[in-house]
């Protein structure tokens, strides 16, 4: 029944876009958050019939979808972030037509991401990554502002490079393996691991994914796109879309398909640590909140890749857990920035101050998210960083572990700097009338803060039951 995760949104989308469905569109837009909510419920309650049954629709259209533990975590993250994004859309996008179109494209992105994390075929993987990316282009440029168009353009330019690299890689893999499914490619690579073509294919695909994931030095598009995109899109991009397309695929391929390439691990460790350092230092110097959060994203993705680069099950666990946590707390921070944008019309931190008293929910949840990002116990971000550092230490990459710890201090520094500029201190005259964000945004931020606190507190239980099995994909 897995195909329903792709087919139901797709069918709804197509039906509602037909001319005769016009009267239903408003109600459908309001009901759209039910889709990701259902997805969350399906993952959390985990009805066996849904996840393992091959009956029903699957007999007619077999995409070869498979849901292992990694896919489940991703589906949960996708559900959470898309749900929150739809809440933000409801609050921030003006006009019924606009909102409908926006929701439509968002659902396309969701279909793309769901497909990405469920597929077991290199070529299909590429296709669904592109589905997600293209819908992201549209979403970034949705308001047709100059900066947004510029951001989208940079994203398209670099994605084009990624596309070329990935398609080339798929072609080379097809040449070597005579097939594109994960298991076939895996067997073939295992058999001919010293083949130069294989190495080029691996490198090209990984580079394509690094561009999608926005790692240094492939990150040029990230700040512009995140900062210029409409608020809900920033949440989606930073929270999940680049992670599902870039990082999830990277984890899947490196850990599962290209298993055991030592030099690949070294590349990932290096790229990861450079991303952490450059992202954090750049974030320290930003005055625009969304741009700062964008650099912070680069830095945090670096931690995920660092965990992946360990090449050990614990490292993978840490990477996936951090991916999930990042989806939660970074979405939360972007929701907070959306709340500020809603009330102040700007995200320039130099024009803010003392808003903690005016916007208590936004301020408090923002502190929680910041502390979680910086890795302060007992919030969820602490545990995932801890796992990554422990994994690095155990794998013998001690210098990387030390850098990871030191840079989390810088993380704390820029986030506290943000807190101080935005939420602490005196309220400037111009903002005296500022009030708490609208109800939908408060619900979104409180829900996300609840997740980051809850996961942190329940970590000891989650670790053994849910997280450790993820390492089994190696």
């Amino acid at each position: 029944m897995l195909s329903l995760l792709v087919l139901v949104p797709l069918a709804g989308l197509m039906l509602l876009s037909l001319p005769f469905a016009a009267p239903l569109r408003n109600r459908a837009t309001i009901l759209a958050p039910v889709l990701p909510l259902l997805q969350i419920i399906l993952v959390v309650l985990h009805p066996a019939g849904f996840w393992s049954g091959s009956g029903g629709l699957d007999r007619f259209c077999d995409f070869g979808l498979k849901a292992d533990d990694l896919s489940l975590v991703m589906l949960l993250s996708i559900g959470i972030v898309v749900f929150v994004t739809l809440l933000v859309v409801g609050q921030l996008v003006e006009g019924k037509r606009q909102r409908f179109s926006f929701t439509n494209v968002l659902v396309v992105a969701m279909i793309g991401m769901n497909g990405t994390v469920l597929l077991s075929d290199v070529f299909s993987l590429y296709v669904f990554i592109e589905v997600t990316t293209v819908s992201s282009f549209v979403l970034i440029a949705f308001n047709r502002e100059k900066s947004a168009l510029e951001g989208a353009f940079k994203y398209i330019m670099l994605s084009a490079v990624a596309t070329v690299l990935m398609v080339t890689s798929v072609a080379l893999l097809l040449l070597v393996a005579h097939g594109t499914s994960f298991s076939v490619v895996r067997e073939a690579l295992h058999a001919s691991s010293s083949n130069v073509l294989v190495k080029i294919a691996m490198g090209a695909f990984v580079c394509g994914l690094l561009i999608k994931g926005g790692l240094v030095p492939f990150h040029g598009w990230v700040p512009d796109a995140y900062a210029a995109a409409p608020a809900p899109v920033s949440v989606l991009l930073a929270g999940i879309s680049t992670k599902a397309t870039g990082i999830y695929a990277l984890i899947r391929l490196v850990a599962h398909v290209f298993a055991g390439s030592q030099s690949l691990n070294h590349i990932l460790l290096f790229v990861g640590v450079v991303s952490i350092v450059v992202g954090a230092l750049a974030a320290l110097g930003q005055r625009d909140m969304k741009r700062m959060l964008a650099y912070s994203s680069i830095s945090q993705v670096g931690y995920i890749v660092l965990g992946l680069g360990c090449g050990t099950p614990l490292g993978i666990v840490g990477a996936v857990f951090h991916l999930f946590n990042h989806a939660v707390f970074k979405s939360l921070l972007f929701v907070n920035s959306a709340a500020l944008e809603q009330r102040l019309g700007t995200t320039d931190m130099n024009q803010m101050g003392g808003l903690g008293s005016r916007m208590p929910f936004t301020g408090t949840t923002s502190v929680l998210a910041s502390l979680s990002t910086a890795g302060i116990p007992p919030l969820s971000g602490f545990w995932s960083k801890l796992i990554i550092v422990v994994a690095l230490w155990q794998a013998g990459y001690r210098a990387y572990a030390v850098v990871a710890i030191l840079l989390s201090v810088v993380t704390l520094a820029y986030l506290l700097l943000m807190q101080r500029r935005v939420f602490f201190g005196k309220v400037p005259q111009a903002l005296a009338q500022a009030s708490e964000a609208s109800f939908g945004l408060v619900v979104a931020s409180v829900a996300l803060a609840g997740v980051t606190v809850g996961v942190g507190v329940l970590f000891p239980w989650l670790f053994n039951t849910f997280l450790l099995p993820i390492g089994g994909i190696l």
């Binding site: 330019m157 670099l158 080029i200 490198g203 690094l210 561009i211 492939f218 230092l281 750049a282 320290l284």
Partner: protein
């Protein structure tokens, strides 16, 4: 008599002290009355329990501690002396403290100090002893601090010096208690192995510091100037001497198997000899009545420490007798100083002179006390000093010489003091000076009379108070009462005293005044620069300690600044320049970003192919 009467020695003065502290100003005479009454009752009780053996024990706190008090021959003798001085000083203060500020605090602290000294003398448990010992430290702080303007610094100085030595004593007490496996003082008798020697050393530091020996002395001259005068007569001159030497004697006689040959004995004798000589040299050149006396209060401790430190019966008897004698004549001397201060309005010797005619009784008391402290026969100081000389000579001639030098300068400085204050030309402003009131004269006369009595009938204190402390076994049948056994030493002493008189007369004639009679010593070649430095306080261990602490704290401050600079400037600066570099690399130009990506991809693929 019931054993619980011992509690009265502590509770009565302490309770009275608390009451006095809370009295309103309008009932001012009540505080004097209460103080006099309580010290009188205390004295009566001390007389009643004399020659009794009492013990009181009650469970106290946890850890197997007991609030145990013990009165026996030695402590009863000290208790009696303490009670006597407390009463006389209370009587003296009646008129002296009239019209001075902080009266309530003075009487309250005086009573509490009495309670603390009583408790410390009676204590038969190391923890109880420390409790009262430290309590006295706090009261002493209060008594100094209520003195004249600026006394707070002196109080702090005294608190720090005595506090540090008390800390040593706590360490010693813990060590001794753990070695003996009991905290009950009467059950401790440790052989002097290495650890026990350490314990004894630390306990000794506490004891000699309380007595005011060098190098823990430097707060006493400061307090002489800053604190109320009765404080000097009661604490540094008598009660603390009694307590400190009492405890020193307890350590050497009971707590440890102290023998004349051990290194601690040598150490004590060195401390004693050095204290005698250095302090008296400082006393000699003082130009203030009270300050001169305060250096003698230090110097005289040297004789006691030297005597007890010899570890032989003659020395111990001499040391304890000297403790008793010193408490008498030294408090008497301070009281004469108080009379002069009260009546003439100053204690600056350069402004005083010719008071003998105006204050004949005070002058008479001064003479008795001065000849006593100088060791002129047949006054009490002579007999105790002779015993100490005898014991010191038996150990080594150096100690004897140091004691003799001390005697010479003691006599010289009291000739100078008496000459400058009571004889010579009187300042016109002092023509109206009258004799001190009766309530101030009585204590002085009583004490001066005791000085004569204990000298002429020295068998009274020696046979009844001091020799029983040592016991028959230690004394081996000797009795030290009566005239000194060694007539040679007596002759030498008299020659030295005569020398001091000649020296004074010659000096006074040369300088033209009594005050400057010792200038030929003060400004002698070689001594003068040392005196200059000493008067600037350069040898004061407290000042040296402060300087060391100042250097250490400025070094730490610099380290702290440097650390701060690392965090605030260096790291932030490095971070800022890195951040600026990273920011300036992000131009927003997509071509740049494309080049980065392609270069990165190229590098990765090349690396994977094994070409790098």
């Amino acid at each position: 008599m019931s054993d619980s009467v011992l509690l009265a020695f502590i509770l009565l003065p302490a309770a009275a002290g608390a009451v006095v502290l809370g009295l309103r100003k309008t009932v001012a005479p009540a505080r004097e009355a209460i103080t006099l009454l309580v010290t009188l009752v205390n004295l009566a009780l001390a007389i009643m329990v004399f020659n009794q053996n009492l013990a009181y024990t009650a469970p106290w706190g946890g850890f197997g501690w007991h609030f145990s008090l013990r009165l026996y021959q030695f402590s009863a003798f000290i208790m009696l002396a303490v009670a006597g001085f407390a009463f006389l000083v209370a009587l003296y203060s009646w008129k002296f403290m009239r019209g001075k500020g902080a009266g309530n605090q003075f009487y309250s602290y005086l009573l509490i100090a009495l309670a603390m000294v009583n408790g410390a003398v009676l204590a038969n448990d190391l923890v109880v002893l420390l409790f009262f010992w430290e309590g006295l430290l706090i009261v002493q702080f209060g008594l100094i601090a209520i003195g004249r303007e600026g006394a707070f610094r002196t109080a702090t100085k005294a608190f720090i010096i005595v506090g540090i030595t008390d800390l040593c004593m706590i360490f010693g007490a813990v060590l001794a208690g753990s070695l003996a496996k009991t905290l009950t003082i009467s059950e401790i008798h440790l052989p002097l192995d290495s650890l026990a020697s350490l314990a004894m050393l630390f306990l000794m530091i506490g004891a000699v510091s309380k007595a005011g020996a060098m190098p823990f002395h430097s707060w006493i001259p400061d307090a002489a100037v800053d604190a109320p005068l009765p404080f000097m007569a009661v604490l540094p001159a008598s009660l603390e001497k009694l307590l400190g030497i009492y405890f020193l004697a307890r350590i050497t006689l009971d707590l440890f198997a102290f023998t004349p040959g051990c290194w601690l004995s040598t150490l004590l004798m060195i401390v004693g000899a050095v204290t005698i000589v250095l302090a008296v040299m400082m006393a000699l050149v003082q130009k203030d009545y009270k300050k001169l006396l305060s250096y003698h209060a230090i110097s005289q401790v040297g004789y006691m420490v030297l005597g007890v430190g010899t570890g032989i019966p003659a020395g111990i008897v001499g040391g304890l007798f000297h403790m008793l004698n010193n408490a008498m004549y030294k408090s008497c001397l301070f009281l004469t100083g108080g009379s002069v201060e009260k009546q003439a309005g100053t204690t600056d010797l350069s402004k005083l002179g010719g008071l003998a005619a105006k204050m004949p009784i005070t002058f008479g008391c001064y003479i008795v006390a001065a000849v006593s402290i100088s060791g002129v026969p047949p006054f009490n100081g002579f007999f105790s000093k002779e015993l100490v000389y005898d014991a010191a000579l038996e150990r080594h001639v150096v100690y004897y010489l140091a004691a003799l030098v001390g005697s010479f300068f003691t006599a010289a400085s009291f000739l100078k003091l008496g000459h400058a204050a009571y004889l010579g030309k009187r300042d016109a402003s002092h023509d109206a000076v009258k004799e001190a009131p009766v309530s101030m004269l009585v204590p002085m006369i009583v004490i001066a009379a005791l000085c004569v009595l204990f000298g002429v009938y020295n068998s009274l204190p020696i046979n009844h108070l001091i020799q029983p402390v040592l016991g028959h076994a230690r004394l081996e049948g000797h009795s030290f009462a009566g005239m000194p056994a060694n007539m040679m030493l007596t002759v030498v002493t008299i020659v030295v005293l005569g020398g001091a008189l000649v020296n004074h007369l010659a000096g006074a004639k040369a300088a033209g005044s009594g005050l400057h009679a010792v200038d030929h010593i003060r400004y002698a070649e070689g001594l003068s620069p040392i005196y200059d430095k000493a008067e600037k306080g350069e040898f004061d261990p407290y000042n040296i300690g402060l300087r060391v602490a100042g250097v250490a704290s400025s070094a730490l401050w610099r380290l702290d600044r440097w650390t701060d600079w690392c965090y605030d400037t260096l790291i932030v600066g490095l971070g800022k320049s890195f951040t600026a570099g990273v920011r300036s690399a992000h131009t927003g130009n997509y071509v740049t970003y494309l080049i980065w990506s392609l270069a990165g991809a190229g590098a990765i693929i090349v690396f994977l192919m094994g070409l790098l």
